[in-house]
């Protein structure tokens, strides 16, 4: 578990609303090493979502630089960013964002559709990931036939299917009850132990405590960045 996966320097993002310029992120600089499990916290409007969007290559920064796995991505075009997302990143969303009327297997395989993987290998890959999150039995189920926790597992399998360098989870437990939340967090924790770097956005301390490092945002700046000492205790809970 060494080497810098993410390096951001003076990352700034401003939104234009009419004639007003609203700063959402005011110069954030930090490193995240390969294999880390980071929780990003902060009240709404603190800039944590903006930060996540930039980490996820979904948006361009107004200023500052961003290296992902040694590649500078802050200057890439939209199509190049799409390629980076497809190769290096996995996303887990609060509302799962699964395609309705599409089997769990096809949902998981979706990112591969935009990759150069031959169709014959896609299925095998997706099956493997579904098995990894414990849903080997439910590959042909549609999202509507699955519980919230199962749906989020499918979404996690989808995030893993392209063997990403980084998994970004935006409030992954926001739509789940506390029991299921713990299960999902335990799954993420387990994946992290298997070597996957995870950055998680949450506003719940309980959830954040599964991570190994907590970065707190306020008013577009990092106000606190510390290792999570309670991590081991939380892990033992599961």
């Amino acid at each position: 578990m060494s080497g810098t996966l993410i390096r951001v320097e003076g990352l700034t993002k401003e939104y234009r609303m009419g004639s007003n310029v609203v700063p959402a992120l005011r110069g954030v600089s930090l490193d995240i090493a390969t294999g880390e499990f980071v929780a990003v916290m902060g009240p709404s409007g603190s800039g944590k979502s903006t930060f996540m969007n930039l980490l996820g290559c979904l948006d361009h920064p107004s200023e500052g630089r961003y290296w992902l796995g040694g590649q500078e991505v802050s200057q890439l075009s939209s199509d190049e960013l799409a390629r980076v997302r497809n190769r290096k990143l996995g996303f887990v969303f609060q509302h799962f964002n699964l395609l309705a009327r599409t089997s769990a297997l096809d949902n998981v395989a979706l990112p591969l559709l935009y990759s150069e993987m031959p169709p014959s290998e896609r299925r095998q890959h997706a099956e493997q990931r579904l098995a990894q999150v414990g849903l080997a039995e439910r590959m042909d189920h549609h999202p509507a036939q699955l519980s919230g926790g199962q749906q989020q597992r499918v979404a996690i399998a989808r995030a893993l299917v392209n063997d990403p360098q980084l998994v970004l989870a935006d409030e992954p437990t926001g739509a789940l009850d506390s029991r299921t939340s713990v299960e999902i967090m335990a799954l993420l924790q387990q994946l992290n132990r298997e070597g996957i770097t995870i950055v998680l956005v949450t506003h719940e301390h309980d959830v954040a405590h599964f991570a190994g490092r907590i970065i707190s945002f306020r008013d577009g700046k990092v106000i606190e960045d510390k290792p999570n000492v309670a991590n081991d205790a939380a892990a033992q809970l599961t």
Binding site: D59, S78, A82, R101, T102
Partner: protein, 410 residues
């Protein structure tokens, strides 16, 4: 992302909203079916008109005796018999564009058979005449060589004459008197119906040209070889204008006309009718195009409307696809393929419906319809083009969405 996968996604998306897809297709279905039916009906009507004109002889040139100026007075057409039977043979022999040339002598008079009589026209003809006019003999036989050369006392009669003189009885081998000359009926001509000018083409007698000249028309013409007109048939596909020009040249030569001297004959053809027919089929085609474009336009707007709704509804899906690596181009292709699939399926159903409808019309209304492969290809092509044209804007709109905004969309 390969094409098969894109097509699968499109079909899936269309299947999800079956009712909506079907209703959207309806515009295209009706449009395409209308195009095919109208072209089939129009084609049938045109074919019938063409047939009528062909029966009249659109590739026929008439050479008439010309006017001769004598003592300052200019005679009209046929005022002087200037063309001869031999001019006719020469035309048929020497001009390659000509399929057949039939010199004819025309006369009219009272025809008597038993106690029935009838006034009609008669033509003295050569064997080429029936070929030129594409006229068949339905009963009896044609003229034999001996009858032709020997001015045989035989006659072919048209349907109208047959009916008026003989009623339902067979006219074959009966003797009729034309201007008091007894002739034996050897055959009955097929029905031709009315000409474009409303004349009954079946009210006619045909006899060998020698018979007409020597026996029926009388002594004034008996020695001369002159004829009233030569009916000339140009080969199918040959150039009318050049045939016309070469014929004029030949006749001027034969008549020993000096350069600068007027023609002593007239040449007439049915090019006016051809032009009229061409103009009418142009109008017909224009009308069809207008109807087709209106109905397909309406269908296309329907597709655009539904695709816009679909893009809005699936904003989150688009955001997700972009998040996992779809480029703008992939999204554009996906929605474009969806729109084109919608319009092509609609087009295919429309073709089936159109072909069925055209057959039904032919069956029920008894109209003649002509299904053409090109109209089907055209309609299918149009449907696809409509899909591309009207699907492009919604697809472009989808492809321009920003991933974070699309993902946040509620």
């Amino acid at each position: 992302m390969n094409f098969v996968a894109t097509l699968r996604i499109a079909l899936l998306a269309l299947r999800v909203n079956k009712m909506r897809s079907a209703l959207t297709m309806l515009g295209i279905i009706i449009g395409v079916a209308a195009v095919i039916i109208m072209i089939a009906v129009g084609g049938g009507a045109q074919a019938r008109v063409e047939e009528q004109i062909r029966s009249l002889g659109s590739n026929i040139i008439m050479v008439l005796s010309g006017s001769v100026t004598s003592g300052g007075a200019r005679g009209g057409i046929g005022s002087q018999p200037t063309i001869t039977e031999d001019d006719g043979y020469a035309i048929g022999r020497e001009i390659e564009e000509i399929q057949a040339a039939a010199p004819t002598l025309r006369g009219s008079g009272q025809v008597v058979a038993g106690n029935a009589n009838w006034s009609t026209v008669f033509y003295g003809i050569t064997p080429d005449y029936l070929e030129v006019r594409e006229w068949a003999i339905v009963e009896g036989r044609g003229f034999e060589q001996a009858e032709m050369s020997g001015a045989g006392k035989v006659v072919l009669i048209g349907q109208t004459v047959a009916k008026n003189l003989f009623g339902d009885a067979s006219p074959l081998d009966q003797v009729i008197r034309v201007r008091k000359v007894p002739l034996t009926v050897i055959g009955v001509l097929d029905r031709k119906g009315q000409s474009m000018t409303g004349q009954d083409q079946d009210d006619i007698l045909l006899m060998p040209i020698g018979t007409a000249r020597k026996r029926v028309l009388g002594s004034a013409l008996a020695k001369s070889r002159s004829v009233g007109s030569i009916m000339v048939k140009v080969n199918q596909g040959a150039d009318m204008a050049s045939a016309d020009a070469r014929m004029r040249e030949l006749l001027r030569q034969r008549h020993r006309l000096q350069p600068g001297q007027d023609d002593d004959f007239f040449v007439r053809n049915l090019s006016e009718i051809l032009q009229a027919q061409e103009a009418s089929s142009k109008v017909m085609a224009l009308l069809l195009a207008a109807v087709a474009s209106v109905s397909l336009l309406v269908g296309g707007i329907g597709i655009m409307n539904i695709m816009l709704v679909s893009v809005t509804e699936r904003t989150r899906e688009i955001g997700l696809r972009m998040a996992v690596g779809a480029r703008s181009k992939d999204i554009l292709t996906q929605f474009l393929v969806e729109a084109v699939t919608l319009s092509l399926i609609g087009g295919a159903i429309g073709i089936l419906l159109g072909v069925g409808g055209a057959m039904l019309i032919a069956e029920l209304a008894g109209w003649r319809t002509e299904l053409s492969g090109s109209s089907i290809v055209l309609a299918a092509g149009f449907a696809g083009a409509v899909g591309v044209f009207f699907g492009y804007y919604p697809a472009k709109k989808a492809s321009r969405l920003l991933p974070i905004e699309a993902l946040r969309y509620e």
